[in-house]
């Protein structure tokens, strides 16, 4: 289990002692007295976390719209003759691939922090492949559905929610490809690994959003 650790202030804390993160994060994010030493990585990660908070509100506004529309149209959610988004093995495999990629990218980031560049590259490449697989799978899933964007509230909400999430997956994969190329430039990550860490955090965010969307759009069958 030693692999599943997150490094804060260079001191490893095992995941099962999650409560020990809290004082560390508070100390890190709410410096009380000012005059903290220049810490480009910590500052940038703070800013990126704050940005993701903002980003999640956009998703929440879409989800709020979806929930309100769906709960007020429980009887006629599916337009006549449309079977909606069915839960299939294909979608489940797609989801499993995306979610398990989170457990690949975190060791990759940890490897980068320990300057194990080769291990980082292979794990990172694996994440890129998993993300791309999800994107292609989602495209195939879209083409198999029997409704379009303008097919009632079902089509409106389904395509906007999954499309907006897909846009984030594409962004994540593009960021990952950039970070992979950066690792091929000699000495590039000696300056710091904020880019890779932010991409990792972003990827976890994309996965968490997908868990919510998957439950709302697939597990909740009309």
């Amino acid at each position: 289990m030693n692999r599943w650790v997150i490094y804060i202030d260079e001191s490893p804390i095992p995941l099962e002692r999650w409560w020990r993160y809290l004082p560390n994060w508070l100390k890190r994010f709410l410096p009380i007295r000012g005059g903290r030493p220049e810490d480009h990585y910590g500052k940038s990660m703070f800013g990126f976390t704050v940005f993701l908070l903002s980003e999640s509100i956009v998703f929440l506004s879409f989800i709020f719209t979806y929930l309100t529309l769906r709960l007020t149209h429980l009887q006629n959610w599916l337009p006549p003759g449309v079977s909606g988004s069915k839960l299939s093995t294909f979608v489940i495999i797609n989801t499993v691939v995306l979610l398990s990629s989170s457990f690949v990218i975190q060791p990759a980031e940890n490897a980068l922090k320990h300057h194990q560049l080769n291990k980082f590259r292979w794990l990172w490449l694996m994440t890129i492949c998993m993300g791309t697989y999800f994107l292609i799978g989602q495209g195939i899933e879209w083409s198999k559905l029997d409704f379009r964007l303008s097919t009632g509230l079902l089509g409106s909400t389904f395509y906007v929610l999954t499309g907006f999430h897909g846009l984030h997956v594409i962004t994540g994969v593009v960021l990952q490809i950039i970070m992979l190329f950066r690792s091929l430039i000699p000495g590039n990550y000696n300056k710091g690994h904020f880019g890779a860490s932010a991409t990792t955090l972003f990827w976890h965010f994309v996965d968490v959003v997908w868990v919510v969307l998957f439950s709302l759009l697939y597990l909740w069958q009309a």
């Binding site: 410096p31 903290r36 500052k43 908070l53 719209t65 509230l153």
Partner: protein, 556 residues
């Protein structure tokens, strides 16, 4: 310290500050340059928005619709509101915060300078895009700055590029810029403070900026989401907000007001912060109740997240929800009242120095009383239903956005003008500007309150002749308001070019920004200061002069 008048112009032959235009037209990452860029750009949009307002008032002099045609009139009030909110007050606040926050907390720059520059350079394209919709064959967006569906979706067929689309796209651009700005400000305030600058040594202005930017961060994405959905409804055939196709326009209202009510506080909180800086400096008193005023900023921000439904009392909102949001809306008056009492107690029984910044701050704080009290009246459901969609609402929020916030902005410009330019403004012209603005603003906006109580509906170009009397007064006031901006422009340009050299701290104010030279050097501080005193220690004779050597010692 009794007389702070005589010694603000430098008698020594210091070097004349350079009047260099060039940095302000370049892609600079210096927070001071970006701050000035924000302020000047938003002021230009303020002039455009004011011109639109004067056209609206020209139309309303007579009860008939005879100056502009009705689609254009709809476009005028839509763009007037949009420009004044999204291109004047919010960017100006971003500009003054950009300039002052790093100086006030003792930082060399903002947390992410490049991101800061990018978020500035997104606004001019967004604003020009918005104005360009006047050139479209069908004109601008016509559904008001709310852009409520289904009215905003009623576009003639065969018009894929229409004013509404342009409006949505430019607002999304400006919104993304604001979110990036919020990330920058929050990170700066949490991470970049000088040694010893604890949270309770930050000036109230910094507290206000922090509260306002937290609101931008949490609430603005809701507007972005709503606008994206509206865009899909408009051009891609979805049905989120189309009532005839099972959609629900009320959802848009919720998402819109979830941002746009806190937007009022995003605009007002920095203004409250400016009052808290200017009033102590000119009454030579410590700010009354510093801690409660600082915490009240956060209190206003937190409560204001939970009040948005008071804009929707007539939107078929269930009674329990109306009562709940009536209570929360009235609750906002508590931290806001703390602020108002704090300002009053600060100037209570002190010898006031009525310079232009002080006049604007006192005028703004006084008129905030009228704006705030009408706001509490509107929070009451029965009264709100009575005056809903009338000029009472228009009068109320103009008392906030013009008579309070824009007055505070003018106070800030005059107060920090010596710091920003290194020169003094002309006091006589400033006072002329104040009295013209104060009188004409009240002439313009006060008549709207009785008009609304009598039942005159907003957003119409023709009205019942019995309302004409008040309307003529308001229109004449608005033209005078237009004239009142001329001495300001003359003063700013003339003083920037030919004004006398200002000393580093002309007002003998406390605060780290006054310890630097005027204008501040490239990296703000030669050595990062160590902060040892609370802000606003005007009363303590030992520390009343900021040049006192042990006030803020540089770090060794």
């Amino acid at each position: 310290m009794e007389n702070i008048i005589g010694d603000r112009e430098s008698s020594t032959s210091q070097n004349e500050p350079e009047n260099n235009w060039r940095p302000y037209f370049s892609f600079s990452t210096d927070h001071k340059v970006i701050g000035v860029q924000y302020m000047v750009m938003s002021f230009i949009f303020f002039l455009v928005g004011g011109l639109l307002a004067m056209l609206i008032r020209a139309e309303l002099i007579t009860p008939q619709s005879n100056v502009v045609d009705r689609p254009l009139y709809n476009g005028l009030f839509t763009l007037h509101g949009t420009i004044m909110i999204f291109l004047w007050i919010i960017p100006f606040n971003a500009g003054i915060s950009n300039y002052l926050v790093p100086l006030m907390i003792g930082a060399r720059d903002i947390a992410f300078p490049l991101l800061n520059a990018i978020s500035f350079w997104m606004i001019p394209p967004g604003g020009i895009l918005l104005l360009s919709s006047f050139l479209l064959p069908n004109g601008t967006a016509q559904s008001g700055w709310w852009s409520y569906p289904p009215i905003s979706l009623q576009i003639p067929p065969g018009q894929p590029i229409n004013g509404e689309l342009i409006w949505i796209v430019s607002l999304v651009i400006i919104g993304i810029s604001s979110i990036m700005g919020a990330v920058n400000f929050i990170t700066t305030i949490f991470w970049m403070r000088a040694p010893g600058m604890t949270f309770f040594r930050m000036p109230v202005f910094v507290w206000s900026v922090l509260s306002a930017q937290l609101l931008q961060l949490v609430n603005l994405p809701s507007l972005t989401g709503a606008l994206i959905l509206l865009l899909f409804d408009l051009n891609f055939g979805t049905q989120f907000f189309k009532p005839l196709e099972n959609g629900d326009p009320i959802i848009y209202q919720h998402l819109f007001w979830f941002y746009s009510h806190p937007a009022v506080y995003i605009m007002a909180l920095p203004a409250f912060g400016i009052f808290a800086e200017v009033l102590p400096a000119f009454s030579r008193n410590p700010l009354f109740g510093y801690r409660s005023l600082a915490v009240a900023s956060l209190g206003i921000a937190v409560v204001s997240i939970f009040v948005w439904v008071h804009h929707m009392f007539t939107s078929a909102t269930p009674s329990w929800m109306r009562i709940l949001f009536m209570v929360t809306s009235m609750l906002v008056a508590v931290p806001t009242g703390v602020k108002a009492f704090g300002w009053t107690a600060t100037i209570w029984k002190s010898k006031l120095h009525l310079e232009t910044p002080m006049l604007f701050a006192m005028g703004g704080a006084a008129m905030f009383l009228l704006g705030g009290v009408t706001g509490v009246m509107l929070a009451a459901v029965p009264f709100d239903i009575h005056v809903h969609n009338t000029y009472f609402i228009v009068g109320h929020f103009h008392y906030i956005v013009f008579n309070t916030i824009t007055m505070a902005i003018f106070a800030a410009i005059y107060f920090w003008f010596p710091k920003i330019t290194g020169r003094m403004y002309a006091e006589g012209w400033g006072k002329l500007h104040f009295w013209l603005t104060f009188i004409s603003a009240n002439l313009t906006f006060f008549p709207m309150l009785p008009l609304g109580l009598q039942g005159m509906v907003r957003r119409i170009s023709s009205y019942d002749p019995r309302y004409q009397g008040w309307n003529v007064i308001a229109s004449l006031g608005s033209f005078l308001l237009g004239v009142s901006i001329l001495p300001f422009i003359a003063n700013m340009l003339g003083s920037w070019l030919y004004g006398t050299r200002a000393v580093n701290n002309p007002w003998h104010a406390t605060g780290l920004e006054w310890t630097t030279t005027s204008p501040p050097p490239q990296d703000n501080f030669d050595e990062i200061p160590v902060v040892k005193r609370p802000p606003y220690d005007y009363g303590d004779p030992k520390y009343s002069v900021i040049e006192s050597p042990d006030y803020h010692q540089p770090e060794h």
